[in-house]
């Protein structure tokens, strides 16, 4: 994939690094000219969001670290969450890192790397809400972000009216404006949302628990293995945890 320079991109500053890796990637079907194209939905702090006209966040930094290890240039494109997997499938992007939970449906369509973070779907409500645990969602108006795991599981809540927003933030805003009763969304962005908006809280009991991983095109084992190697290195060196800590605690 290529992108014109006016696109919302965050380019890794590193030029193509170690010659040997660069030569290798040339042969990989996924890479064009040593560039790795990542797609994400940059409305999902702290994993990915816009800041200073760049897409930043945990995923962005991990991806950059991986790209550095592979000696490739990283380009990040922003799109709707439910478009991410189709973009990877179609080869428009090499991979997606978007706080994406591993589940069976998705596994049918893409290959996941080793997981790099634990996550949970949590419930945000207004302070003083009568919803105190996941069972309380029954029959309520529940806001989710289209295509997220929260969206998919919310389908199973009994009698709930699920409202699907293009962005998690729009769902939170609808909650603060009393348009809905609760938002089901990943824990990390939820933490940020609650911190940034007064009068919101996260219920103690999580809605579901799961793990995040990076997804590549099905069958692209070459890239998958390389990324797994890089992730392992980052984990072992503690670099990965540093990145997560930086965002989760700094925020």
């Amino acid at each position: 994939g290529t992108g014109t320079k006016t696109e919302t991109t965050a380019k890794a500053t590193e030029k193509a690094g170690a010659e040997s890796t660069a030569a290798e990637t040339k042969t990989a079907e996924s890479a064009a000219g040593g560039k790795l194209v990542m797609v994400t939905n940059a409305e999902f702090p702290p994993y990915e969001y816009h800041n200073n006209n760049e897409i930043v966040g945990i995923d962005a930094e991990i991806a950059k670290a991986i790209a550095d290890k592979l000696g490739m240039e990283l380009e990040i494109q922003d799109m709707a969450f439910d478009s991410l997997i189709p973009a990877v499938q179609s080869g428009k992007a090499d991979f997606t890192a978007a706080g994406m939970t591993v589940n069976e449906d998705r596994k049918k369509n893409v290959d996941f790397t080793d997981t790099y973070a634990k996550a949970a779907q949590v419930i945000i409500v207004k302070e003083g809400s009568d919803i105190v645990n996941p069972d309380g969602l029954e029959g309520k108006k529940v806001g989710v972000q289209t295509g997220t795991t929260g969206d998919i599981y919310a389908d199973d809540i009994k009698d709930a009216a699920v409202q699907r927003f293009n962005k998690g933030m729009d769902a939170v805003m609808a909650l603060t404006q009393d348009k809905i009763d609760a938002v089901v969304i990943d824990r990390e962005p939820a933490t940020v949302f609650v911190k940034d908006n007064t009068g919101l809280k996260i219920l103690d009991e999580a809605f579901t628990e799961e793990e995040y991983a990076i997804a590549v095109k099905k069958g692209n084992t070459e890239l998958l293995e390389k990324m797994n190697g890089a992730i392992k290195e980052l984990k072992d060196s503690g670099e990965l945890q540093k990145i997560i800590d930086k965002y989760i605690t700094a925020n």
Binding site: Q89, D105, T146, I152, D155, Q163, D170, D178, K179
Partner: protein, 230 residues
């Protein structure tokens, strides 16, 4: 290949009753379009009357000024921005429901275009008709009511019916406020199956069929109106 198509179809529509996203979305799309058209016609008619009266007689100056602002603002901004303003700003303290919000936003938007339709309908009636009415002794309002309006209305009925088609397509951005319309219904399926082909194409086909059917009805209507023209 055939196998794959069948499987894709199964995944996209049958599993988990996913076709319901489409049918529910379609219902909402039709509901929004229908009521928005009603609001649009009402609003457009009022605005057209006010503006025609001002142009012909110089009366209703303040109302006319308000109408001008309304037309400029609504025609000067994209409907999706209007929809978001309605949802996130105007109804930020009270929620009348997404569907209602959408109906209101699209209705107000439509009104600005319908006003132009009515106005051109009125001004397409020859000046001589107006003069003939006045010279018989009818005043301005009587002339408009007995002579101009019935002719103007008949002229614009097909265009008004067309406005339904225009709005049908415009409401496809209703998903911006989390509302599950037809387009969003396809989006949701796409987000479940990670395949774009079936959901997008079937949504497009449904719009296409609806537009073609309504266009055909408009043609019938036009023909009937023409026949009743003596």
């Amino acid at each position: 290949m055939w196998e794959k198509l069948r499987d894709d179809f199964y995944q996209n529509f049958i599993v988990d009753d996913r076709w319901k996203y489409i049918t529910e979305g379609l219902q909402n799309t039709l509901k929004i379009t229908f009521f928005a058209v009603l609001i649009g016609i009402l609003l457009g008619f009022l605005v057209a009357i006010i503006r025609s009266t001002y142009e012909n007689t110089g009366r209703l100056k303040i109302l006319n000024a308000i109408c001008s602002v309304y037309l400029t603002v609504i025609r000067g901004t994209p409907v999706v921005v209007q929809l978001m303003i309605m949802y996130f700003i105007i109804f930020s303290f009270h929620d009348p429901g997404q569907i209602f919000t959408a109906i209101l936003a699209f209705g107000i938007n439509s009104g600005a275009y319908v006003a132009e339709i009515f106005r051109s309908g009125i001004s397409s009636i020859e000046r001589g008709q107006f003069e003939a009415g006045r010279s018989l002794g009818f005043n301005y309002a009587q002339t408009m009511w007995f002579i101009i309006m019935p002719q103007a209305f008949k002229n614009v009925v097909p265009t008004l019916a067309n406005e339904f088609i225009v709005l049908l397509k415009e409401t496809s951005v209703a998903g911006y406020i989390g509302l599950q319309d037809l387009t969003k219904g396809g989006d949701i399926i796409k987000s479940r199956t990670y395949s774009a082909f079936f959901p997008l194409i079937s949504v497009a086909l449904i719009y296409l069929v609806m537009v073609m059917v309504f266009s055909y009805l408009v043609t019938l209507l036009e023909r009937r109106l023409k026949k009743s023209e003596h």
